[in-house]
């Protein structure tokens, strides 16, 4: 009896420790007023609206709460840290996943939320605070990674969307399958079973990857479909991007899918895009994915697999901040639009290093138009001097 009690206490201590560690990760690092010059010298971005926010202003809330997507978390952590140095505004982005973000914003439990997938019309109309805007903040990519010892140091494997779908469907089971060898002569002698690795936890990354596979394979679209959790016909499940990356690096002849930032130390495949070219995932090829498509004014678009740009990485996606169009608290609204403005301009420089891709200019223009629609007390929340600078 005593030992069980001790067990419970220990387990509790571990949980508390984990929560504290997560809290430490998401909370801003310092409260200190930073030097705006430091950020400016790093920039060199030739864009109107860049470098306009140089410190805090009167009347803005000094604290904002948010939750949601973990896909852009590394970038948001950097933004939050830099923005805090610059303005002293503390932003607590609690993560929890896109689903959590959508639930929280719909219930007005947070000031804004992050999501990798767009909210459906009925989800928005169910929200208690009115219309919700989708402001794209950055672009991310999902990259197929594999572990084939024979190909170490050689050309990357070239995959078509259809072959990728068939691997995950269990229809292509060997690396020397004729369909793969057609694009990859090097694979002819690799007589090994393919072990597909997927995310076991519900995830926006899985959602985007399965949206891509559905767009490439009719069988996938009919049977497995797309979602945060799907019924994988074959393979092994691992937890989170780090879990999939570690599983692939440990297991020979496996294949997995991870965010761009996690593909660095692994063998990463080239994937054929809609223009028919095999491309490598990089910040440039991901940014290019927003070019060969027409962006709608509300930015609610799934661009995966759609871009006809020659250089576009096909499995690229926007990630969004979800914000109420009509804000209730003037000080929070001011703080919020200034932060998003800063992210869309000054914040873009941090994207590439962290495994994301900066937004192209036309996407930023559409985002700013959305930012101008945010109202508080019947007036635009965006300060006039910022609105004039676009």
């Amino acid at each position: 009896m005593q030992t069980r009690k001790a067990l419970n206490v220990l387990a509790l201590a571990v949980i508390v420790g984990l929560i504290a560690a997560m809290g430490a990760l998401t909370s801003p690092v310092s409260r200190a007023q930073g030097t705006p010059e430091a950020t400016e010298s790093m920039g060199g971005m030739d864009m109107a609206g860049y470098g306009l926010i140089t410190g805090g202003v009167d009347g803005e809330a000094k604290r904002l709460n948010a939750s949601g997507a973990t896909f852009p978390l590394e970038l948001y952590k950097k933004w939050i840290e830099e923005y805090n140095k610059l303005t002293g505004v503390e932003i607590n982005y609690a993560g929890g996943g896109s689903g959590q973000g959508k639930k929280d914003i719909a219930a007005e439990a947070v000031d804004f939320a992050g999501s990798d997938s767009i909210m459906k019309d009925e989800e928005i109309s169910a929200a208690t605070g009115g219309n919700i805007l989708h402001i794209a903040t950055t672009m991310g990519a999902i990259v197929p990674v594999y572990n084939i010892p024979e190909l170490q140091g050689k050309d990357p494997v070239k995959l078509t969307g259809e072959n990728l779908a068939n691997i995950y469907l269990g229809k292509i089971t060997k690396w020397n399958d004729a369909a793969l060898v057609a694009d990859n002569p090097d694979l002819a002698n690799v007589d090994a079973d393919i072990l597909p690795v997927y995310r076991s936890d519900g995830s926006g990354t899985t959602n985007n990857f399965t949206i891509y596979l559905s767009s490439q394979s009719q069988e996938w679209a009919d049977t497995i479909k797309s979602g945060n959790t799907v019924q994988w016909p074959y393979g092994i499940g691992a937890n989170g991007n780090p879990g999939v990356a570690s599983e692939v690096s440990q297991t020979e002849y496996s294949i997995g899918y991870v965010e761009l930032a996690f593909a660095k130390d692994l063998q990463a495949a080239q994937v054929k895009n809609a223009a028919g070219a095999f491309v490598t995932a990089s910040a440039e090829s991901v940014s290019a994915a927003a070019k060969g498509v027409e962006l709608p004014d509300d930015m609610r678009i799934v661009i995966i697999g759609k871009s006809t740009d020659e250089a576009a990485w096909p499995i690229s996606t926007f990630t969004w901040l979800l914000v109420y169009e009509n804000q209730k608290d003037a000080s929070k609204a001011l703080s919020l639009v200034r932060y998003i403005w800063w992210g869309l301009h000054d914040g873009q420089q941090f994207a590439a290093d962290l495994g994301y891709a900066p937004l192209p200019a036309d996407a930023i223009a559409k985002d700013i138009a959305l930012l101008e629609k945010i109202m508080v007390d019947g007036k635009p929340a965006l300060p006039a001097e910022l609105a004039a600078a676009k």
């Binding site: 030992t3 069980r4 001790a6 067990l7 220990l10 387990a11 571990v14 929890g96 996943g97 896109s98 689903g99 959590q100 959508k102 997938s117 079973d193 072990l195 076991s200 936890d201 519900g202 995830s203 926006g204 399965t210 497995i224 479909k225 797309s226 979602g227 945060n228 959790t229 799907v230 019924q231 994988w232 016909p233 074959y234 393979g235 092994i236 499940g237 691992a238 937890n239 440990q250 297991t251």
Partner: protein
């Protein structure tokens, strides 16, 4: 001193009301346990109501778990839970009982005491620690050494060979069963040891006086007496195995194929591992309700085993040689 006298009658009255308060507190504490149980079931049932009314009994009979198609069946996960728990029980019980007998009957005090202490420590290790060890050490060992060996030996035998087929991945029912066995061994061991040491000295000495060997003493005097308690210990271990989440999730491979295949080398999933994996990021309400219903199913599975264990213990206690 003079004050003490008038106080005395009051003190008696005070004791009586204290008795009543104490009694009320005890009743309250006992009722609270019942209340928590009822509240738990009520919350699970109400949370799962959309899933229950959508699928009814099919939830237990279907193996497909396909959130985008809004199709949820728990059978593959129920199978995973039972199979891993039974592997754990089969592997852990002989070792645990053997070690318990050694520690309490054979080992000299200077050895028995440290072993008992270590066992108590093992019980308190959080499951995530076992999980990490399982992920980084046990799973690769299973993949490289144990699984190829099993495939090439038992795997070649007809019928039971079906249990060991397919590629060695190190993450499967078998690895999950092994890690569960390691986790529940200390539980079974420490309770069994306690029960064996409670066998009356007179009973042991009586058998020995008739000329019984050490083995015969254990076989005819200790084991019959402790049988009920040892089975109870094994069932406590089993209960821990059924609900174990973290360590299993890390080594079972988290399959979502919705197929039940005989091979223990296939990746699998249990009820608890599925809840842990999917609960965080569900988007639609039916998926959420289905996960809550899984929680209810886990409660049912655990209850069935617990009730079964009680019946078994009662039966066995009535056999000859057992404690009255």
């Amino acid at each position: 001193m003079a004050v003490a006298k008038p106080v005395q009658p009051q003190a008696i009255v005070g004791t009586q009301s204290g008795d009543q308060v104490f009694r009320a507190f005890l009743i309250g504490a006992a009722l609270l346990v019942l209340l928590v149980m009822i509240a738990l079931i009520a919350v699970l049932v109400s949370g799962a109501s959309t899933s229950i009314s959508e699928f009814g009994f099919l939830f237990f009979a279907q193996t497909d778990w396909n959130p985008p198609s809004q199709l949820f069946g728990a059978l593959a996960y129920i199978y995973g839970t039972i199979v891993t728990s039974i592997i754990a029980l089969l592997l852990a019980t002989p070792f645990a009982i053997g070690a318990a007998i050694y520690v309490s009957e054979y080992a000299p005090r200077w050895l028995g005491n440290p072993i008992s202490f270590c066992v108590e420590l093992l019980v308190t290790i959080p499951s995530v620690v076992y999980g990490l060890w399982g992920y980084f050490t046990l799973a690769p060992f299973m993949r490289r050494t144990i699984e190829p060996f099993l495939k090439n030996t038992i795997g070649e035998v007809p019928i039971i060979g079906a249990l060991f087929q397919g590629p060695a991945t190190g993450r499967n029912y078998l690895t999950a069963g092994v890690i569960l066995a390691i986790m529940i061994t200390p539980t079974i061991l420490s309770i069994s040891r306690e029960i064996i040491t409670q066998v009356p000295r007179l009973q042991k000495e009586g058998v020995m006086a008739l000329g019984a060997t050490k083995w015969e003493t254990i076989r005819y005097s200790i084991l019959p007496y402790a049988r009920g308690g040892i089975i109870g210990a094994a069932m406590l271990g089993l209960a821990r195995a059924i609900g174990e989440t973290m360590a299993v999730t890390m080594v079972i491979g988290n399959s979502s194929t919705g197929r039940i295949t005989p091979s223990l080398l296939n990746t699998g999933a249990t009820i608890a591992s599925t809840i842990a994996n999917q609960y965080g990021d569900t988007v639609d309400a039916l998926h959420n309700a289905a996960l809550i219903e899984l929680g209810l199913v886990l409660l049912i599975v655990a209850s069935v085993f617990t009730i079964g264990a009680r019946v078994l213990v009662r039966r066995i206690s009535k056999l000859p040689g057992a404690r009255a």
